[in-house]
Amino acid sequence: MISDFVKSVQQGKIDPVHHIRSALEEVKNINQQFHYCTTIPEQSALAESKEAKTGRLAGVAVSVKDCICVKDIESTAGSAILKGYHPVMDATAVQRLKDEGAIIIAKTAQDEFGFGSFAVNVGIGMEIPKNPVDPERACGGSSGGSAGLTRKVSFPHVSLAESTGGSIVCPASFCGVYGLCPTYGVVSRYGLMDYANSLDKIGPMATSVDDLKLVMDIIGHMDPRDSTCTGPQHAKVIQKPRIGLLKSSFAQGVDPKVQSAVREFVEKLKRSGFSVSEVELPLTEKYGISCYYLISMCEASTNLAKFCGMRYGAHEPLDGNFNEYFSKVRSKYFNEESKRRIIIGTFARMAGYRDAYYLKAMRVRTKIIEEYKKIFTSVDILLSPTMPILPPRFADIGNLSPLQQYMMDIMTVGPNLAGLPHLNIPAGSVEGLPVGMLLIADHYQEQTLLACAKVLE
């Protein structure tokens, strides 16, 4: 546990310089086979370790998803179009971790800009991260590198990940670690490279509930630099939350082995005295995927307009007019999935289609939020498997169409659309492969989720 390690550092029993040096060696070794890191900033990590003697994360090795800016460390959001970009500031969440003595040891691999559920849509020239328990399988996405590294390293470590439609809990599930996606706005998005502004959330991954809680307590605060940041709001912790099982997630379309692994944990909850009932979210289940993908692609297509080869990242010789130059850079350095999403998002915002697609999706989102709010009057936590399948083989992912891949987010898009906090709990394994259980709570109920996860730990 991190707090024990930190105590030893503060008492001088562990030398952070020595510790970080060996941590870096281990990460480099792991990375050769598993490709979890886009950058391993050895020099800055060693320099920072010399100063790390105080704070709640004194000397703790932290990895950061590549789309979250770390000052002077190459940060590319997993895309070739940002190769060479060295942010001139830290994201607020990174700054807060550093202020507590954390050492940034890696930027982690992801689907380019977060566009994927398996971390296979990496940027041009980048490596696909592999599942820590079976390198022929995916580690999930888009925060795949964060989840894989969290599972694989032997030293105390947490990762800062990010979710737009499930990118924290999906890889946490496939890699068998804890991942918490907080309520929209609790953690500042300052310094996060946007995928979809109304959906993006930064959150932690760790190997224990206490470590998740520690990081959340450090990063979840108001920030004047993000006008959508609300801070934690200090909702009352529900001591014995009523659990609602999402009926449709224990039905056809969800791997029966995944279902039974999660059901074992449900029995454990019942034995611990939790009331468990079955609930349904018909609108979210039916329309969540379409609603989520339309909103996220519309927002992504505007966000990605800024990458044009002028101010940072990839560039080409300055010839042709600006349209020709921008098109040349964008066509060369965006990967296929980015192009696909930019085109769909641009189409759905075009004159004549904006109302039918973009605004319609925004209205359906209102109804989805209402559906969740209503269900939270009768239960406090919603429970389902996190992913409908076991970690898939790379060969099988290749056979899925883009639409079939989007359908894999069926459990995770709902809470992301509604901005609800949600948590992946490792729920054992099937045939050696990790299974994850998803808990969702009402806005600002992170602490209730963490308390419930603690009971199951």
Partner: protein, 94 residues
């Protein structure tokens, strides 16, 4: 609306993307599939429903209108490859 290769090329050009013939051939049926699937949102009655531009209610959060230090010109240009006389140099306008 018919999603065809011509439309895909038009939208790509609006988004400043040059697609190869191969990409157009690959994307057109995929986009058709995806947008057809998304179109079922039509069936949800949203007559009296406002759009949620954010998942939680957020008021206009504005900062105090007070001057404070910003990035220096040198730091602001650190990541730009094409620069001239302390400015970013861009492609020609026409």
């Amino acid at each position: 609306m018919e999603i065809n290769e011509e439309l895909v090329r038009k939208v790509a050009s609006l988004a400043r993307l040059n697609l190869t013939d191969e990409e157009v051939k690959k994307f057109t049926p995929q986009l058709k599939d995806i947008l057809n699937a998304f179109s079922h949102l039509d069936r949800v009655n949203t007559d009296n429903t406002d759009p949620s531009f954010q998942p939680i209610p957020i008021r206009n959060n504005t900062r105090h209108d007070e001057p404070h230090a910003s990035l220096s010109q040198e730091i602001a240009l650190k990541n730009a490859h094409h620069t001239k006389d302390g400015y970013i140099k861009g492609p020609r306008a026409v």
